[in-house]
Symmetry: C2
Subunit: 166 residues, 2 copies
DNA sequence: TTGATTGCAAAGCATTTGCATGCTA
DNA sequence: TAGCATGCAAATGCTTTGCAATCAA
């Protein structure tokens, strides 16, 4: 976590920006929260620590964290952008339960290898990729579509009908 | 294309809805346009045929097409929902060029097999998945970041900075 | 001191909804 | 005739921007 902070401050300096109390607090709260946070989620958490922080600053700081390589944007189909740790959290993909909103992270070297082969065949130079598998997790299958609160590790994602795979 | 129309009309009937001139026109234009159309793209195309069609109706009809299994929603990171044919167009994934906005469709049985294995391991029941590989296509690599109009099969997708993989 | 930062309010943008009118079955 | 469909305008929800006041370097 100290390392992440150094990275952030180095990025701030390199870009000719300034270190502020708000940015430090936002980074702090983000680093200690191992979840997929929306800007609003983070805003509320930060507010507990320092009520004098605006929504706008959280939005802007999250973009800064992405620039610095500390955060990564993810979207799970509920129309809002979420952020996850990106430093020392190597690439992975997600399964998203459309019943309870839980996400399962996974990584497959084979999957990556096949993708490499595919892009090579098309002479496509990839910069990033995103694989999301939507469906119903084991717990929700048992509960036959009656998820409870504790089945959701994170706030429930609600879909209009079918998830629109944003 | 006749078959698709039948499917649509059957869906309309089954759902207790009504067949209208607008819906027929929208379906017609959609079916004959083999592109990833946003609601607005389709709205403009339909307007050429029948100026008395509103944006709202196009939105609502596209949802109907998705319900009927004729269309599939896709998102390429420019913040708008696009629709592609889903009937007789089996599942495939996309490479998206962040320079010119072109999309390359591909399918890999191995990829699907590995995904099946992964979800099985987690006892996850998948309903759909979405794999998008963002990067630079062969043409744009040659042009070294100076894409021309003809390099884009579809309207250019613009990103703020890095594509936010919505 | 200078220019970046902040946070409120307002604007943007894609999408959705309310509602009076029009039209299918 | 009943009630679904239409399309305008307004609302929605997330995100971004304008701007005057504030603050780091």
């Amino acid at each position: 976590m100290t390392e992440e902070k150094e990275i952030f401050h180095r990025h701030i300096q390199r870009a000719g920006l300034k270190r502020t109390a708000q940015r430090d607090t936002i980074l702090d709260v983000f680093l200690r929260t191992e979840k997929h946070l929306s800007s609003e989620d983070l805003y509320h958490l930060v507010k507990e620590e320092d009520p004098n922080v605006g929504h706008t600053t959280v939005y802007r700081t999250l973009k800064l964290l992405v620039e610095a390589g500390l955060a990564r944007e993810v979207r799970f189909g509920d129309g809002r952008t979420r952020y996850e740790h990106n430093y020392n959290h190597p690439h992975h993909d997600h399964m998203i339960c459309t019943e309870c909103g839980k996400t399962i992270e996974f990584f497959s070297a084979e999957l990556e290898a096949i993708q490499d082969a595919i892009v090579a065949k098309h002479k496509f130079r990839p910069t990033q990729h995103s694989l999301r598998i939507f469906g119903v997790c084991a717990q929700c299958q048992r509960k036959a579509g009656a998820p409870t609160d504790e089945s959701a590790a994170e706030p429930r994602i609600r879909f209009a009908s079918a998830p629109n795979t944003q």
